[in-house]
């Protein structure tokens, strides 16, 4: 276990954390503002990944694929909101869970019809291949570094939009008192649609970046979505800051657990025991972490106001 290896895995953890954050940010905004639980958020992530792969393969341009994925998920998100989800804001969480569960079945199967069930792999343009040398002896893939950079930039941008702009002010106002904001003459329905669309685009951004790291296939959205739920439970519903902290914690803990639990356990347990226990424990680690956080703070680390 060299320092370089630990450092590389730490960065991989941050990279996973950043992806989780992009999903958690959109989900937590929708949860916090519209009090709406949207299981189909993972489907938008999947749609983003498919958009990026198919458009960049068709056009031969990676950047065109990126643009198509962002625009496509933005439009898809707003469409889903207007057609199906809008009627569910006034319903209880149970109805929302069930209806969006139905949407997931639809989207997963739709992707299977359009692109088949087998996994797709996206290729990278030459300028994103290769490694960069961070400092003496420590090299890191360019692409993963870019993912981290993009994710952290989005985090800063989101913070700026929510706390420093008029749109952000409306979003916060809508979260604390919907009726009052509507009475003041703001078109709250439009605001909701816009917020939903941007949340979808963030999920699409995560999806288009995921294509080169993970496999793209129907159902990919739900695997990550459940981890995103863990992030939100740890961070606190409705809190963007909580989403960022929670995502980084979950990303790092999960990655480090998978990479180092076996050697660590092996240092004091018999090899056979460590080999069986480590993968099981590593895959359960973030859920155990969630249970611990809940035992200490039932409403998450950063409870949003209201």
């Amino acid at each position: 276990m060299t320092f370089a290896l630990v450092f590389e895995q730490l960065l991989n953890g941050v990279q996973l954390g950043v992806m989780l954050f992009l999903l958690a940010a959109g989900l937590t905004l929708v949860l916090g503002i519209m009090n709406m639980v949207n299981l189909a958020h993972g489907s938008l992530y999947m749609v983003g990944a498919y958009f990026a792969i198919s458009v960049s393969q068709w056009s031969g341009s990676y950047l065109l694929g990126v643009a198509a994925a962002l625009a496509g998920t933005l439009v898809a998100g707003m469409l889903v909101e207007v057609v199906a989800l809008r009627t569910l804001y006034q319903r209880n969480h149970l109805d929302q869970v069930l209806a969006t569960f139905g949407l997931i079945l639809f989207f997963n199967e739709l992707m299977a019809i359009l692109f088949g069930r087998s996994a797709l792999f996206a290729s990278l343009p030459s300028y994103l291949q290769g490694h960069i040398e961070l400092f003496a002896g420590i090299r890191y893939p360019v692409y993963r570094a870019v993912v981290i950079g993009v994710g952290l930039s989005v985090a800063i941008l989101l913070w700026y939009v929510v706390t420093r702009t008029r749109l952000g002010m409306l979003i916060r106002a809508g979260a604390s008192n919907r009726t009052m904001v509507a009475a003041l003459g703001v078109n709250i329905r439009l605001l909701y649609t816009v917020v939903f669309g941007f949340g979808a685009a963030l999920a699409g951004l995560a999806g288009l970046m995921a294509g080169q790291i993970y496999t793209v296939q129907p159902g990919m959205g739900e695997l990550i979505l459940i981890q995103v739920f863990v992030v939100i439970v740890i961070g606190g519903i409705g809190s963007i800051r909580g989403a960022l902290v929670g995502a980084l914690i979950v990303g790092v803990v999960d990655t480090m657990g998978r990479a180092f639990l076996k050697p660590v356990l092996g240092s004091f347990l018999p090899t056979v025991a460590a080999d069986t226990a480590a993968p099981a424990l590593a895959s359960m680690l973030i859920y155990i972490l969630m249970a611990l956080v809940l035992a200490l703070r039932p409403a998450g680390l950063f409870q949003a106001r209201g």
């Binding site: 969480h93 149970l94 069930l98 569960f101 199967e109 019809i113 069986t276 809940l294 035992a295 409403a299």
Partner: protein
């Protein structure tokens, strides 16, 4: 009266089904209905906490898995005693429910939904990572559970065992809900603050109900692994939890017949769509039809099937 009539028709139909199906040469339906009834047991148990207790558990598939693993692991080591296997299946599910419930019932609303989902996913990954018992690929059940008087290898006997257990589960939940305990459980659903003010803590009642439901779910798991002779972590897949929830909702939650009707409605619909041959793509991609149907059901069909048979209270 209408309720008694509904139950009479339902039970009669289920008792009469196997001889009728076999006389018509459609023995396949015995197998299908047996599978549906096993899921109905899981739905009945979820209804106890979801319909009467107001706890939106998105992780009920966990107990199917725990029950299934208990039976399959015993069978793996050549221990086929049914009473032992099933007792452990029920006991282990109750323990898992106690652990999950103890943490998640401290929270409510959205947190509760997400946490029950997350814990079930944890068990799912645990199942995948245990190579000893098949990991991802699952494990074949070498022999069905062995009981002194009945033989589960006989499709008919197994059918009536499942039917009896289903009716027993419905009766048990009915008794629980109408007992003092059930009153307290329902009271804490409809008004938690008032329940606290009267002087009882909803937590203990909820947790007890959660454990009972988990144990019944474990029984369903033990039955399911005997039904399909195969165990995979897919038993605990989150879509399973969603399906069981849908059974309760489609049938009408908080009613005794609802979960049973809902299981039949959902699984028969799935079966019809999956076997659709004209045009062929529907059979292959039936979920693309089922998904929007479910969305429509949630939006427009709020009272569930049992609501049709009940007088409107509105």
């Amino acid at each position: 009266m209408r309720k008694a009539l509904l139950w009479g028709v339902l039970v009669l139909a289920l008792v009469a089904l196997p001889p009728v199906a076999q006389a018509l040469g459609q023995g396949f339906y015995v197998d299908l209905v047996r599978r549906i009834m096993i899921f109905a047991i899981a739905a009945v148990s979820l209804n106890l906490i979801l319909g009467y207790g107001g706890m939106v558990s998105f992780g009920h598939a966990a107990y199917l898995g725990v029950g299934g693993y208990a039976v399959a692991i015993f069978a793996f080591y050549g221990v086929n005693s049914g009473p032992l296997q099933w007792a452990v299946a029920i006991g282990a599910s109750a323990l898992v429910a106690l652990a999950i419930g103890a943490v998640s019932i401290r929270t409510s609303g959205l947190y509760f939904i997400m946490i029950t989902l997350a814990f079930t996913q944890m068990l799912y990954y645990l199942g995948i990572s245990i190579e000893e018992y098949g990991g991802d690929d699952g494990i074949r059940l070498k022999a069905r559970s062995e009981f002194p008087l009945v033989d589960l290898n006989d499709g008919l006997q197994f059918y009536y065992v499942v039917l009896a257990l289903l009716l027993g589960s419905v009766y048990l939940v009915h008794r629980i809900v109408n007992s003092r305990f059930g009153m307290a459980l329902r009271a804490s659903k409809s008004n938690e603050a008032r329940a606290l003010a009267i002087g009882f803590s909803p937590y203990r009642y909820r947790l007890t109900a959660f454990v009972i439901a988990g144990a019944m779910g474990g029984l369903a798991g033990a039955l399911l692994v005997n039904q399909v002779n195969f165990l995979t972590p897919e038993y605990m897949h989150w879509t399973r939890s969603g399906e069981i929830m849908f059974m309760v909702i489609l049938g009408g939650m908080g009613t005794s017949a609802g979960p049973v009707l809902g299981s039949f409605a959902l699984l028969l619909l799935e079966d019809i769509l999956a076997n659709w041959r004209d045009p062929r793509w529907i059979g292959e991609h039936w979920q693309v039809i089922l998904g929007p149907l479910l969305v429509l059901a949630v939006i427009f069909f709020r009272r569930g099937l049992a609501g049709i048979f009940q007088k409107s209270h509105d």
